[in-house]
């Protein structure tokens, strides 16, 4: 090839095992590591349901005893995650919070926090299941049954659904009237036996026990009775409208309702 090669060969150290065209000698281990990683990834997807159940059981047990709370940050580690679809959410309290009930009703209404607290309260304890996979066991929610508010408003017989709006200005949800009248659907004022905090959608959020947690709209400010279901925020982005835990969104979680 060229005249300098023999001199290079004379170098004292063993030569770099590479020919000038870049095709080195030696085994193509790099390619095997890459393909192996791909294979493990595919295997992980296939084995995920089994692995996930095992990890949830294990981490659920550990996180109860973990004082640092770091296990809560692991996937499937338990604990709530904060999701907001907007940049910032105004804070509402006793002074400025209002919940309106309108649409196809005989008696539209507007409730303050004190009004809501004065109504009969129901406490429910179920697991919370997010459609992205995390689950928080046995979380108490307390508040007014949605059916109580609907009955008070007098729903038009030709109505078929309820639409929820939120004071974050963007989030919406909806339920059929039958779903909305279930006894495990609350306008929640308390979560984990404390007033619902701002980050958890306080002071008032929806709680739909048997459905994935995106149905439990945070920062609830409006209840509108409509003729038919209008898909909510995430439902327009691909999630199921009827979001029964374990029977929708392609998931097989244990039911929470």
């Amino acid at each position: 090839m060229n005249s300098e090669r023999p001199e290079e060969r004379d170098a004292p150290e063993p030569a770099e095992p590479a020919a000038p065209d870049g095709r080195a000698d030696g085994s193509p281990i790099g390619r095997r590591v890459l393909l192996g990683t791909l294979g493990l990834g595919a295997l992980g997807v296939v084995a995920a349901p089994t692995l996930q159940r095992g990890l949830e059981a294990f981490l659920g047990g550990v996180s109860g005893k973990d004082p640092t709370g770091l296990t809560g940050l692991l996937p499937n580690g338990g604990g709530f995650r904060y999701y907001s679809v907007t940049a910032s959410v105004p804070r509402k309290d006793d002074t400025n919070y209002r919940l309106t009930v309108d649409g196809m009703v005989d008696r539209p209404a507007s409730y303050t926090l004190a009004d809501l607290r004065a109504l009969p309260q129901t406490r429910l304890v179920h697991d919370v299941q997010c459609v992205t996979g995390w689950r928080v066991p046995k979380t108490p929610f307390e508040g007014v049954r949605l059916s109580t508010l609907l009955d008070a408003a007098g729903v038009d017989p030709s109505a078929g659904a309820v639409r929820f709006t939120c004071f974050d200005g963007a989030y919406t949800e909806s339920l059929t009237l039958d779903q909305a009248r279930r006894s495990d659907v609350l306008v929640a004022l308390k979560m984990q036996d404390k007033p619902v905090g701002h980050n958890h959608g306080g002071p008032v959020r929806l709680y739909v026990a048997p459905m994935y947690f995106y149905k439990s709209a945070k920062w609830l400010s409006g209840i509108t009775v409509t003729r038919a279901v209008r898909p909510g925020y995430w439902e327009e982005r691909g999630y199921d409208v009827d979001a029964w835990v374990g029977r929708s969104n392609g998931r097989d979680d244990a039911p929470t309702g």
């Binding site: 095992p17 590591v33 990683t37 996979g133």
Partner: protein, 207 residues
């Protein structure tokens, strides 16, 4: 021709990366950085509360992830880059010696022979390439949920979450190693390293 093999070369700098290669690394690092930063804003509660705007952050994350392989694909038009991929792919006997020394925590230079890339760099390169493709594949399953049975999305999310955590740890190691070796960083910034460094860290490399 009688080239003086030793004399002038000793104190000079030697070329380690071409201009194209430097840009491949910069672009890939920037896209990976965006993926990690947006992932943190989607995943860590304190950051999620601070940033919000979930829809926008998700879009940025998706596009950065989709574009992540592009620098490497574009780089493969460069001969220098293809040649270095060959170096990264092929393992010689010295790479096994290097790995064995690492496992035995043997820090002597002599027991860690390396050519242009040491066995650790080769392992990292191959693994991060594979992991990125797995992240891309599982990410696409989560993105285009209508293309596959929805069941797959949960499984893809599971792999995506755990592998993201692993990638984060490995990436921190990669950056930590670079922070500890200014000359290696200079190599990627300027394309050149000192001959002393090359002979010390990569004794079997013939630049």
């Amino acid at each position: 021709m009688h080239p003086p093999v030793e004399a002038p070369a000793r104190s000079t700098r030697v070329r380690r990366f071409s201009r194209g290669e430097k840009w491949v690394h910069r672009a890939a690092a920037a896209l990976m950085g965006v993926c990690v930063a947006t992932a943190a804003c989607l995943y860590i509660p304190a950051l999620a509360e601070l940033v919000g705007r979930r829809e926008l952050v998700v879009r940025i994350h998706e596009w950065a992830g989709l574009l992540l392989p592009v620098p490497v694909l574009a780089g493969s038009v460069s001969r220098a880059f293809r040649k270095d991929l060959g170096h990264l792919n092929r393992w010689g006997p010295h790479d096994r010696i290097w790995l064995r020394a690492v496992l035995r925590r043997d820090h002597r230079r002599a027991s860690r022979p390396a050519a242009k890339f040491n066995a650790g760099q080769k392992t990292y390169a191959a693994w991060i390439a594979g992991a990125t493709l797995v992240m891309l594949g599982t990410g696409l399953l989560m993105w285009f949920t209508r293309l596959t049975p929805l069941m797959w999305r949960s499984s893809a999310t599971f792999v995506h979450d755990w592998l993201a955590l692993t990638v984060g740890v490995v990436l921190a190691g990669h950056i930590g190693m670079a922070l500890g070796d200014p000359e290696a960083r200079r190599g990627l910034r300027t394309g050149e390293v000192s001959r002393e460094w090359a002979e010390r860290e990569h004794p079997l490399w013939r630049p």
